[in-house]
């Protein structure tokens, strides 16, 4: 039995190592990109929906939806190809990786076709020529005029964007503060962490229109057309798809659809969206967040626990060559997982394993957190097993119980009782740490609060709400765990 488990674990470890060593294969010869999309009938668009009016989330008939002018562009392309548009949300930094690893077919997210990006992905013609502005607090009006007035000050820009790099290059004596979302940057502006936020002109217009305390000033960045225009990105080499999309993009430009139709339509959502910014209005969004946080945590704890038990048993095995190998592998696994950040592990599972199997974000998140938690749980369990007196095993074995039976009926129950507080701690930590999967777009609490923040232009209130929600979750969990701990206390 133990041997079978050992073998299974060995195999899965070997598989994991094999996966990590495989390099993405380059399909250069024939371009099936267009036929592939047409065959599956869907075009998956990746976007970072916190950039109104380009793309942002809104509630339509009680359902959260991504809208904006980029979505309209995506719909047009999909319609012209005769396929259905599917939208995948994630952070801006993750978009190009998702494109390269096949998580999405195209990226439309206010993205500028810079030479650096062109090296890695293929762009269509530009569909929109924007420009940059800087948003400042109304109280600072007159103090700042353009990018050069921020000497000795902090200027904010979204990380991973062209604007962030250009702000760094084209300002002197100014500290450029990078954050992953515009809504965070605006919050930083309002709490005076930064003196101004550089962003695309349409976004700036939207923020200023919806927040009376903000004004916009020209940026005067010296930029080429490539830096201010936006285009649709496809995977490198998918020429057929790019050519097809270009026809749609050319039509959009030719008929000026963005200014005539898409922007006004997006503005409609922005208007209706700011009428009711009370947090009660968003209870459904927060509830979704709680739901996913709980799903991720419970699943991760469950699978992490099973993995932890297996790893602990492997680490305690000794004797045959196979057991020594198993112990060595389990030790290496535990050390490796504990020695790398959980965030990196989440990204590795989602993007790295994505090269071989296309796992949904939620599944990837659960897998990554379970793999991580397993390593920690393994150490608790190993400690717990070691803390049980050797006489217990001897007594069990002298009664004729096999090694496995002794472990299962006598040692593990006592070990679990001993480590229950540590396991409870791990569970509560996971409730909080599960927030990391927000970077791959799983709608758990943090992600949902970001959506609400970019939706309402209110910075602090959603943070307070999720703080209270997290506390309710962890406090309830710790009460429950204490209850069971007391129930089991005989010894």
């Amino acid at each position: 039995m133990i041997k079978k488990i050992c073998l299974g674990l060995l195999l899965s470890c070997a598989l994991l190592m094999g996966l990590s060593l495989t390099t993405p294969t380059v399909h250069a010869a024939t371009d099936h990109s267009l036929t592939t999309v047409q065959k599956k009938g869907t075009l998956v668009m990746g976007t970072a929906p916190d950039y109104p009016p380009y793309e942002f989330e809104t509630t339509i008939h009680g359902k959260t939806q991504v809208v904006g002018m980029d979505v309209a562009v995506g719909q047009k392309i999909a319609k012209d190809l005769g396929v259905k548009l599917v939208i995948k949300s994630m952070s801006f930094d993750s978009l190009l990786v998702a494109l390269q690893t096949g998580k999405v077919d195209m990226v439309i997210s206010g993205m500028n076709p810079t030479p650096a990006r062109r090296k890695n992905v293929a762009f269509t013609h530009t569909y929109y020529q924007g420009g940059y502005s800087i948003v400042i607090n109304k109280s600072d009006q007159g103090r700042y005029h353009d990018k050069d007035s921020f000497k000795g000050q902090n200027l904010g820009a979204q990380t991973g964007t062209t604007l962030y790099n250009e702000s760094k290059r084209q300002t002197t004596n100014t500290t450029i503060k990078g954050m992953t979302t515009i809504s965070n940057l605006v919050l930083a502006l309002q709490s005076h962490k930064v003196a101004g936020v550089a962003m695309e002109k349409p976004s700036a217009k939207a923020y200023v229109a919806n927040n009376k305390q903000l004004v916009m000033i020209p940026s005067h960045f010296n930029l080429s057309a490539a830096d201010t225009s936006t285009a649709v990105a496809f995977k490198k080499g998918s020429t057929a798809l790019v050519t097809a999309a270009n026809q749609s993009v050319d039509q959009i430009k030719h008929q000026d659809l963005i200014n005539k139709n898409y922007l006004p339509a997006a503005g409609q959502y922005l208007k209706t969206n700011t009428v009711n910014t009370s947090m009660w209005h968003y209870w459904k969004a927060f509830l979704t967040g709680v739901k996913y946080t709980l799903i991720i945590t419970v699943c991760a704890v469950f699978f992490g626990f099973i993995l932890g038990v297996l790893l602990a048993l492997l680490r305690l095995g000794h004797g045959s060559l196979l057991q020594t190998a198993g112990r060595w592998l389990a030790t290496a696994y535990v050390e490796f997982i504990r020695g790398t950040p959980m965030m990196v592990q989440v990204m590795f599972v989602y993007f790295g394993l994505g090269l071989i199997v296309n796992l949904p974000a939620l599944t990837s998140g659960i897998i990554a957190i379970a793999l991580n938690s397993g390593a920690y749980v393994a150490e608790y369990i190993r400690g717990g097993i070691n803390s049980v007196d050797a006489g217990q095993t001897e007594a069990a074995r002298s009664l004729g119980l096999s090694r496995t039976a002794a472990l299962r009926y006598v040692i593990l129950p006592q070990a679990l009782q001993n480590i229950w507080p540590s396991l409870g701690n791990e569970f509560i930590t996971l409730i909080k740490d599960s927030s990391i999967v927000s970077i791959i777009g799983v709608s758990e609490l943090i992600y949902q609060s970001n959506i609400v923040r970019s939706d309402t232009y209110r910075g602090v209130a959603p943070i307070v709400v999720i703080m209270v929600l997290y506390f309710i979750l962890t406090f309830t969990a710790s009460r429950l765990l204490n209850h069971f701990e007391k129930k089991w206390q005989h010894a």
Partner: protein
Amino acid sequence: MTKPIIEVKNLAKEFDGNPVLKDITEQVNPGQVIVVIGPSGSGKSTFLRCLNLLETPTSGQVAFDGQDLTTLDTKRVNELREQMGMVFQGFNLFPNMSVLENIKLAPMKVKGVSDADATKRAHELLQQVNLDDHADAFPSSLSGGQKQRVAIARALAMDPKVMLFDEPTSALDPEMVGEVLNVMQDLATQGMTMVVVTHEMGFAKSVADRIWFMADGYIQENSTPDDFFAHPQTERAQDFLSKILM
């Protein structure tokens, strides 16, 4: 002539190169009560633990019921082990289970006895050791003497052919030694084959069929209690007896 139930041939055991048991050849016949005595550190407990293979002998043979345990696979050893009950100095009751559950565990999980039958048998055994009123108690609430009597009942639940006792009274307060020895004496009277490592000379004298005197990794003397206590043959035994009897 009866066939011996335990046969030990040229048994030796080393721990990291230190010889503890050197060359032991003895046998136990069914129904016999063997009391192993000797100075501390002479290897008595190690010897006892080699009999049910809790310790693996370095060399030599340990046969139970005609089968050499050292040549059998783990599964067969587990099966033969259940026929040798063992009682430890430190009781080793399972603290997370009630007295009743302690006794029922092995019959149910190893022999597949039904819950009802195991419960019935456990109550009988608890009556035998005068503890039936503590069936639902947890070990932590019992005295040392009570714990050891539960441990004996637990070993008996597997209906063993032999009972091994490893200094069963050494960890007990003096006033509790009697209650445990009485249970052991009853067992001996009922004809149970027993190998007992103990320092209770009174028990050795009155209950043992044979005394095995152990010192320096050898069984130095194998005689009746009368002979051993009256006329110890070896110098080691004379020295040992003079120290404990005064």
